[in-house]
Symmetry: C2
Subunit: 346 residues, 2 copies
DNA sequence: ATGAAAGCGCTAACAA
DNA sequence: TTGTTAGCGCTTTCAT
């Protein structure tokens, strides 16, 4: 283990002082240096295979060139593209990312944020905030650049980047309506998450806008944004209104669970019941019945959030909008059809 | 941004020297200290909300409590569980992970490894090594703890943890054979990767063991371990031997591509042609025809590799076996059936 | 244009 | 049992 060369080694090699070496190697140096010295230093650095010790540099400058990324669970297929999007902008700028998974466990985020803070991250992209989230709010207040992605915390001044939930829900609601559905249920996500809450609000609004009484529609909240949550909530929906002809789900995995539960009780999708999702997660279009859903930008959202963070990191925080909303796109596939005319289920 | 308290602050507060404070706060301290001081220091630390500055500590101890994880692409569904497995053992021990994606691009790994080294990672888990991989070999030789996962580099002394590729291929080959298949083709992965090479070797061995002439079987190498690679290689296989009745693929995504290409040329799976995969990636069992495949341990493999790394990190490198092979399991689903008896395709 | 010196916050060898 | 001292490798102010 022949240890790495340091500035001191280069100084000895070239006969100049380490501070001069430091200056010569600084890419954006402001101090004037003789061309001769610069060349000799660069040369020696090259020869010795010099790599700056970022730890030492960080201690001095309080910049680690590392950011933290908080996600619920990398195992959820929509997050890998988001992470890649983030890295696609951070890495070329010299930033590395430390990713932590909260598993949507309240309280766990506290410990994870500490892990990030302890390592001196320069900023945080948080995709797992709760509607109430004192931990990250405190961090942001302390002056660390923070962006929330996919979800938001209102009234804190933390810039957020989300998808156009309202438009997405409206599009899918309209599609169901136009197919003739009137008894449209909503399988909501956990309401402590802004996605769950926002999509429920959007559902009610869409129903009202279409002239339906949103109070009369079946609504069930899933405990988790996953298949099991979808199954359980679907059972509640069918109990609330056995005549439901369509279930608008707050995300794809809930929809997959809904379809599964429906099949288990003898309801085929889309023949007996229509189901829609949200997100358009990877591989979804290979799973039958190919789910009609709302595509959110994943890679792009990550990249955009990272772009905002970079601005904050470079002191141009003033240029960062408090709210960024990314457009969504309706993906019509096979899980929606007209309600059965024969009233077989009534 | 009221800055974090330092040892110095606690020292001032308690009237003892900073080195004493440092000792009092060291969880595994060996030096004897008076109970009184310890209590006062702990107390003050608590009161001031002291959190150790890991950067400073790292500079001194040359330990960052951070490891690097190199993967091909987090977007490939088998990696998220592996990453979670790694974290399940590293995080409780105080380690954070920096994950980098090589995108299987030769050369890119060099830059990524440098990113990790620059940040002073204490060790590396590498899941994307090539059969020839001078970069990581050099790093390991320099003394940094390195483990390779899923793939191996022979003859370098770098401990590796892989799946029982040979057993997996043999199981799936036997299954096809027992269903009556004799014209079994192999859709190989890129041969510069040990998984690609190992599975090809295992395929030939299995064929020979079953009494088939492995030289007579169609074999095509995919350029990438993905659907597109699978489609292209399948075209080659069908050109090599139009009478192929089964394609044993080196992984699931190649198999998905194979099925897709077969469908495009009018061959239904499994009725006209049987196809098998490898890995049993997440969500695979929801995609029709449900693929018969070999399940590798994903989360567990990550956890096991991390366990080995932890040993190396704590100086018990001697206890780490050079080779660890995890058992695999045959998952029989719907993509294999007997070859058509009516010879419709011959 | 370059050198000297201080110091980021911590740890560890040595001294008392 | 505790204090002193030095220093990890770098950046940066000040002096020359």
């Amino acid at each position: 283990m022949n240890k790495r060369a340091t500035l001191k080694d280069i100084a000895r090699e070239t006969g100049v002082h380490v501070s001069t070496v430091s200056r010569a190697l600084d890419p954006k140096r402001d101090t004037p240096l003789s061309e001769d010295v610069v060349v000799r230093v660069r040369d020696a650095a090259e020869r010795l295979g010099y790599r700056p010790n970022r730890i030492a540099s960080s201690l001095r400058t309080r910049k680690t060139m590392t950011i933290g990324v908080v996600i619920p669970d990398i195992t959820n297929p929509i997050f890998p593209p988001i992470v890649r999007g983030i890295e696609s902008v951070m890495e070329p700028r010299g930033y590395a990312s430390i990713i932590v998974n909260t598993d949507s466990q309240r309280g766990r985020d506290k410990r994870l944020i500490e892990i990030l803070l302890d390592r001196g991250v320069d900023g945080i992209i948080h995709t797992a905030v709760l509607l109430e989230d004192p931990t990250i709010v405190k961090v942001a207040r302390s002056g660390l650049p923070v962006i929330t992605l996919n979800r938001k915390i209102e009234g804190t001044g933390i810039p957020y980047l989300i998808n156009d939930e309202e438009d997405g829900i409206r599009k899918v609601f309209s599609l169901l309506y136009n197919h003739g559905h009137r008894r449209i249920a909503h399988l909501a996500g956990p309401l402590e998450l802004s996605t769950g809450q926002l999509r429920l609000d959007a559902f009610r609004k869409a129903a009202t806008d279409m002239g339906l009484d949103s109070g009369a529609l079946a609504i069930a909240e899933a405990e988790q944004f996953d298949e099991q949550g979808g199954r359980e909530a679907t059972a509640k929906i069918l109990a609330q209104d056995p005549h439901t002809t369509a279930i608008l789900c707050a995300n794809d995995r809930l929809a997959l669970g809904a379809i599964d539960h429906c099949a288990a009780v003898g309801l085929a999708c889309p023949d007996d019941i229509s189901v829609t999702g949200f997100n358009d997660m990877p591989f979804l279009d290979m799973i039958p019945p190919r789910l009609t859903t709302v595509r959110i930008q994943q890679f792009e959202a990550g990249a955009a959030a990272a772009g905002l963070l970079v601005k904050m990191l470079s002191g141009q925080g003033g240029d960062v909008p408090g709210e960024t909303i990314l457009p969504v796109q309706l993906m019509e596939r096979d899980s929606v059809s007209a309600p059965r005319a024969d009233g077989i289920r009534s």
